[in-house]
Symmetry: C2
Subunit: 409 residues, 2 copies
Amino acid sequence: MATDKVTSRLPEFLEKIERELDRAMEFWLTHSHDEENGGYFTCLGRDGKVYDDLKYGWLQGRQVWMYSKLYNEVERFHRADILEAAVKGAEFLMKNLRDPETMKCYFLVTKEGKPIKIQRTIFAECFYMLAMSEVARATKDLKYKEEAVKMLRKIQYWVQTDDTELGRPKLSGMTPVNGLAIPMMLLVLVDELSHDDISLAAEFRELQEWTVEQALQHIQRDGTVILESVSVEGKELPGCQGRHMNPGHAIEAGWFLLDYAVKNNRPELKDTAIQKFIVNPFKTGWDEKHGGILYFLDVDGLSPTQLEWNMKLWWPHNEALIAFLMAYKETGDVTYLEYFAQVFDYCFQHFTDDKYGEWYGYLSQQGEVTQDFKGGPFKGCFHVPRSLFMCEKMLKEMLKTQQNGVVNH
Amino acid sequence: MATDKVTSRLPEFLEKIERELDRAMEFWLTHSHDEENGGYFTCLGRDGKVYDDLKYGWLQGRQVWMYSKLYNEVERFHRADILEAAVKGAEFLMKNLRDPETMKCYFLVTKEGKPIKIQRTIFAECFYMLAMSEVARATKDLKYKEEAVKMLRKIQYWVQTDDTELGRPKLSGMTPVNGLAIPMMLLVLVDELSHDDISLAAEFRELQEWTVEQALQHIQRDGTVILESVSVEGKELPGCQGRHMNPGHAIEAGWFLLDYAVKNNRPELKDTAIQKFIVNPFKTGWDEKHGGILYFLDVDGLSPTQLEWNMKLWWPHNEALIAFLMAYKETGDVTYLEYFAQVFDYCFQHFTDDKYGEWYGYLSQQGEVTQDFKGGPFKGCFHVPRSLFMCEKMLKEMLKTQQNGVVNH
């Protein structure tokens, strides 16, 4: 039976994922540390060689978060060198990445930390907050937590009250938009900051509920699709912007929502997260001819204007691995494990690199590597290890439960 | 002989190019006019259907210029409907695209002309100036010329004196950069505005010489390559930015410089333009395996970080057609006509659309159409007709000379 066959692969999945996580972390720990200035190099070639020494704000924050998370939650990564590297990164962030008065963070700085570029959005700030929140747990140093709380309050203010400080000009033809990225990010930020702090959880409870409502507005066309941008009233927007779909992003939002639904005992939301945010976008986004998840689609089947629409990027596949394994774990429905296996096989045939570790990030529609570097302006120590870490954890829990005979899906 | 063979193709080139120009213009004239609001729709599908009604500032200006240029210089396009469409576009531009006080132009407006996005660069302003300069000749209306002169003075001020008004934040890690786009654009702007006005030509003479000097600084690595961005001292910059090559852009700069060299009787500059800006980048950028000109390259052969680096875009091919035909016309060296034929054949096998006219804009490395629209946020009524118009003109001149027996290359 197909069902038996895929469940019997759980130990294989675990073994390969553990190995890849070790190799990915070894890659970043070996090649990315800037011993002279602090912070991390992220433009790293296939073999880890630095091909550009600029430092991208999103990726600095994400790497601090990833190091701290693994230090806090995985025994074999609870190592002094990893803690030290996380702290050095956090200090680089605090010193160079955010303006202490405005709390705005830079998108790009020189290796020494001098600012080059600032975005008029909230994302560098979100990853800064994630970094501070998790390094606070690793170090038990309250200054980081205070920094994280201060930043989340600021982000909430920008998103819900007044975004003037972000510096975007207000032009008369602009339409206010509900982009999926904002509620998604905020949902995670609140969970990361407050899951072990009752008083903070209470403070941000309403915000979290608001993010869920905002995310659900992206379900469009009688529940069949997730559109990346909708109006603030939750209606479809005109033109390319309105028709834009990002299957990997919808799937990522799906597991954020699924996790929230499980933690808050919300069965209806759990079902919505799985069917509408994970399964439907996956089916729409999967390339039947060549395999892999397409990057962007137009809901009416027109050509997306983004030139990279038909490429296969690493991160949607990382998100799909987490999403389907979580869906299987939380429902016992083996269909989701079969989807997981489908994505897993594509990843291990196309993205992994047996020679140097970490994954390639960018493939053509046909699945050929188009960019051979392991890190770049938008790819750092984040999606690959986060996905492998979460899948390893879920697989271990499921295998343990199986062994104990408590549940056998 | 190969040489005989390619020169014997001149009438074929002319015939096909004339036909494509007619079909391209028919496409824009039929599908792109917004009769209600003025201005042009440029997001047009394969068959001309509007798939987004936003108006992009660069493309509005370019279309006014193209219509006016063809009206002014080509007998069969000297038509009342084309003039009217150019004027309506120019009025839309003046009314909606530029701020009368700051002279800054919007990058994106709604179909009604309400502003959505403004860039902190000078390019929307450059295309605005081109539009005004050429529609002034078509209409003999001085208000357009005054507008063009005022804008060029403003652009010169921003580029050479103070760019504060562009609104870019000054951050301490920024390195001043000489990007090839700026001198290229200014070289053309001055020529377009002043080629029939001695007093304006005198006013901007120094500026034009400065643009040539700035452009020549991009010749790097012992004269073998054109790098897109160099330091203001003309040295190679570190990292990806320093190694970035855009062969199509170098070739375009090449024919701008060649044209300037011919007009100003500068034989050394003529040779530099052909060898360093046209031939070398073409040889580096040509994809020997699949044909066509690659979009971006890294001078050290690393993977470019731009996801679209290996695609084949229409406009570098349009620029190469102009550049090689001009090089052949100005030297009589048949090698350049062979390069022209190589590009011509690729274009007519891959970019043309026998059913609906205009060219596809975006192909995969293998030469398959990845986006089937004819117009989009960055593709309007410009590169295809400009190239066909210029090539038609040069071919006619050459064939006429041949017939008269004056010169036979």
